[in-house]
């Protein structure tokens, strides 16, 4: 083929185009991994639309936005401690990204048992995140009377968008926990010994994505 000659001759942009359009494969990665990337791109759009919609209703709604630093505060020994719970939740989720990265590393080193353990740990951290979220929800609903259709503090869009978006994210985390558990279990049983351990990295991509999205949700809901 004259491809190599062509590649040598071309520079800059056109060599980039050539690389990308080379035959067989555009990206040097397994099919499943590319598919996960594309899915996450699509999912990014879902979350972006959610967050844009939230910002939009927050700016256009007629009533005042509830005072978030009070609403989200925990009362400890009679003191309002803003952002405490959420800081812990965020810390846990980011830690879980760390354990996930270690799992990927061990998997590629050919240590599936260790990788499986770390994935289970990741799942556990994820599950505790969901548990704390459930706690937060119940506190907001039961103690403060916040509902999707209204609340005592101001604009009802607060409850609506908060429950919808954190709920949608929590669902992603829950799905991730199950996904991690299933893959970890298979890993433990040697299911991937012949196939290779790409799947751990693919699972990791999803998990990191879910964490990253949380950072945005955190910023837009709790810090604004």
């Amino acid at each position: 083929m004259d491809k190599s000659a062509e590649q040598q001759a071309s520079t800059g942009i056109s060599s980039l185009v050539d690389d990308w359009s080379s035959d067989k494969q555009t990206f040097d990665m397994p099919w499943g991994k590319l598919m996960m990337w594309i899915f996450l791109l699509s999912d990014t759009f879902i979350f972006s639309v959610f967050l844009t919609a939230y910002m939009s209703v927050r700016m256009t709604t007629t009533a005042d936005w509830p005072p978030t630093s009070e609403v989200f505060a925990l009362v400890i020994a009679g003191q309002h401690v803003p952002l405490l719970l959420i800081a812990i939740m965020t810390f846990i989720l980011i830690t879980s990204s760390g354990t996930m990265a270690m799992a990927v590393n061990y998997a590629y080193q050919g240590k599936p048992q260790r990788a499986a353990k770390l994935m289970l740990l990741t799942a556990l951290l994820g599950a505790s995140f969901v548990g704390m979220q459930a706690f937060e929800w119940s506190k907001l609903i039961v103690d403060e009377g916040i509902r999707p259709w209204g609340n005592p503090f101001g604009a009802e869009q607060f409850g609506a968008s908060f429950f919808l978006i954190t709920g949608f994210h929590g669902m992603h985390v829950s799905v991730g926990v199950i996904y991690l558990a299933v893959i970890a279990n298979r890993l433990r049983k040697g299911f991937y010994t012949d196939k290779g351990y790409h799947i751990v990295e693919i699972t990791g991509l999803y998990w990191h994505f879910v964490d990253l999205v949380w950072v945005f949700i955190f910023a837009f809901f709790y810090l604004w």
Binding site: M1, K3, V17, W20, S21, S22, D23, K24, Q25, T26, F27, D28, M29, P30, W31, G32, L34, M35, I38, F39, L41, S42, D43, F45, I46, S48, V49, F50, A53, S56, V57, T60, T61, T62, A63, P148, W149, A155, E156, Q157, G159, A160, S161, L164
Partner: protein, 601 residues
């Protein structure tokens, strides 16, 4: 490191033998494609019947007692939604995308066949949920295909209890189905091409389908999110889209929401959706034109970049559907500008199709007739789009029949023309039989001329100010009585066009059993799907060896080559040349002697 699975390993794909594994729970992309296509055509026919009913009411008001104002607006809504989503999107991507991608790029199947199968069954579920809304109390929703709140979910709109719920649910399910298929299409195009099939050698059909799928993956999220939010507004009383309002004398519990937000979200999906159906059509029509004109497509690279550019631009024009929503004039200016910019790559494509025909060796097969018909209808629809893209012109025309005429020409009739062209073109590969040419020609002429009889007068009705989505015109000062005569004639034409589709359906069924055998490559086409060992291609597509690609997809009428086409998988040294006498150098025009096999009449 190459990552391969079934693409390179024929023995890995086991061939199912039992009927239900082969034809029902099949993971073969070709079977899934046919399942998609049959389902889509079936719902499409329902939408066609609905349009006939609407036309009956408009042409002969007060004659049909079963069409009351509620039923009329329900028909409008279901007709529009079915046509755009469940027919066109599903047929172009689920049907032709599935069939053509692996065959045209030289793969054995999609990269994840199981997911692909699931995609179809979830699509079927969405269709069932949608059709179920005809049978629930209150009937299907009458919110218009745009589903604008607040009216979509308020009492007074037909189907405000059940119909709208089922519609939103069905859309969400459809999006899940589309995502499963779409991930497959994109990954397959990017990662599973045959040796030598660089992106810049792919047939334009694949380019169109590929970019359209990416648009879908990025645009459907907006529809999904707005559907979920509207479901919440309806079911648990949130107020995302609902301002404080009084309905039927009663103050409702909603407050502070933004109906305009929904419009933005809907059209952020809705405009790219236009191109989700248009880009595959652009691609497929290019291949049909090049093949039946025995000429390479004019400006292949331009065509590819135009597809990509249109795809990108289609995300920044959405608010041209909202000029009457009271937005800031500067926004209007911005969106009018982007809208007119998108006309540039689109016009380039039209020029290139025409230049491909120019001095081509045109075979007027049925597929070619429909392809040429497309150039007409698309150009007309595109030109009226230039009017509507400008704020000041759009304001008086918005929500009139001018708009109805515009979007039917550009995104109704034109993609349908390409679908017909594609079906007449690829049917011989899919079934091994030719469609009957006489019936095909009759189908074409009635459909093409009928289209003009239906939609040209509608532009005029729009100028008169006849509003869209109205059950009857009633008495006004500005609409003359003659408009009603025009309406009656439009209805007659529409019914004839509708009936002409029966010829097509009959032709399909008839030719399936009694059609002339087509052979492997009846049109003398260059692309890979025509080079398969078997026709129709078997499971796994390629026998023991994957094809190897040596050239682009458009080597038609190459000077000095013996045949007037060189398939993509023929190496340079295998091309049979004619002996050229030294004294008389051939020029290209002499080469135009037809060597290609024609269509049996």
């Amino acid at each position: 490191m190459p990552h391969t699975a079934i693409a390179d390993q024929p023995d890995e794909s086991h061939h199912p033998t039992k009927f239900i594994w082969k034809y029902i729970w099949s993971q073969d992309h070709k079977v899934i494609a046919i399942q998609y296509a049959v389902t889509a055509i079936f719902v499409g026919l329902i939408a066609l019947v609905l349009s006939g009913l609407m036309r009956l009411q408009l042409g002969f008001p007060n004659t049909f007692s079963f069409i009351d104002p509620s039923a009329y607006i329900q028909f409008v809504t279901m007709h529009g939604m079915i046509m755009v989503i469940y027919l066109l999107t599903a047929l172009f991507l689920g049907g032709f995308g599935n069939y053509l991608i692996p065959l045209m790029i030289g793969a054995r199947d999609m990269v994840f066949p199981f997911l692909n199968m699931l995609s179809y069954w979830v699509y079927l579920l969405s269709v069932i949920v949608l059709l179920a809304s005809f049978f629930v109390p209150g009937g299907p929703t009458g919110a218009g295909w745009t589903l604008y709140p607040p009216q979509a979910i308020l009492q007074g709109t037909p189907g405000a209890d059940w119909g709208i719920l089922l519609m939103l649910l069905s859309l969400a399910i459809f999006i899940v189905a589309f995502t499963m298929g779409g991930l497959n299409y994109v990954t397959t195009v990017l990662q599973a091409r045959a040796k030598g099939m660089t992106l810049m050698r792919m047939p334009l059909s694949i380019w169109g389908i590929f970019v359209a799928t990416i648009l879908g993956l990025l645009a459907f999220p907006a529809l999904l999110v707005s559907a979920i939010m509207m479901l919440f507004d309806k079911l648990i009383g949130t107020s995302f889209f609902m301002p404080a309002l009084v309905s039927m004398g009663e103050q409702l519990d909603y407050s502070g929401g933004s109906p305009i937000l929904f419009q933005h979200l809907f059209w952020f999906f809705g405009h790219p959706e236009v191109y989700i159906v248009a880009l595959p059509a652009f691609g497929m029509v290019s291949d049909v034109i090049a093949t039946h004109a025995r000429k390479n497509i004019f400006g292949y690279r331009q065509m590819v970049w135009a597809i990509v550019a249109i795809g990108g631009l289609s995300f920044i024009v959405w608010a041209h559907h909202m000029y009457v929503s009271g937005m800031n004039p500067y926004f209007g200016f911005f969106f009018a500008t982007t809208t007119l910019i998108i006309a540039v790559p689109t016009a380039i494509k039209v020029y290139n199709w025409v230049l491909t025909l120019w001095k081509g060796n045109i075979h007027l097969t049925t597929a070619m007739l429909f392809a040429i018909g497309f150039i007409f209808t698309f150009t007309h629809g595109g030109l009226t789009g230039l009017f509507l893209g400008n704020v000041v012109v759009d304001l008086p025309l918005s929500d009139t029949y001018f708009v109805v005429a515009h979007f039917h020409m550009v995104m109704g009739v034109s993609p349908i023309m390409v679908l017909f062209a594609a079906i007449y073109h690829w049917f011989p590969k899919i079934t091994g039989k030719h469609l009957h040419k006489g019936m095909g020609n009759a189908h074409f002429w009635v459909t093409f001329l009928g289209t003009y009889a239906v939609y040209l007068p509608m532009h005029y009705l729009g100028f008169l100010g006849v509003p869209r989505r109205y059950y009857a015109m009633g008495d006004t000062d500005f609409i003359p009585d003659s408009a009603q005569t025009l309406n009656a004639s439009i209805t007659v034409a529409a019914l004839i066009v509708g009936l002409a589709q029966l010829i097509f359906i009959f032709n399909l069924l008839h030719s399936l059993r009694k059609g002339k055998p087509a052979g492997a490559n009846p049109w003398g086409a260059t692309t890979l799907e025509w080079q398969t060992e078997h026709t129709p291609p078997r499971h796994g597509n390629w026998g023991t060896h994957l094809p190897e690609v040596h050239r682009w997809a458009y080597d038609y009428s190459v000077p000095n080559a013996k045949d007037d086409f060189i398939p993509q998988n023929v190496a340079d040294q295998d091309v049979v040349m004619v002996a050229v006498p030294e004294t008389a150098p051939l020029d290209v025009s002499q080469q135009a002697i037809d060597l290609g096999p024609g269509e049996p009449s």
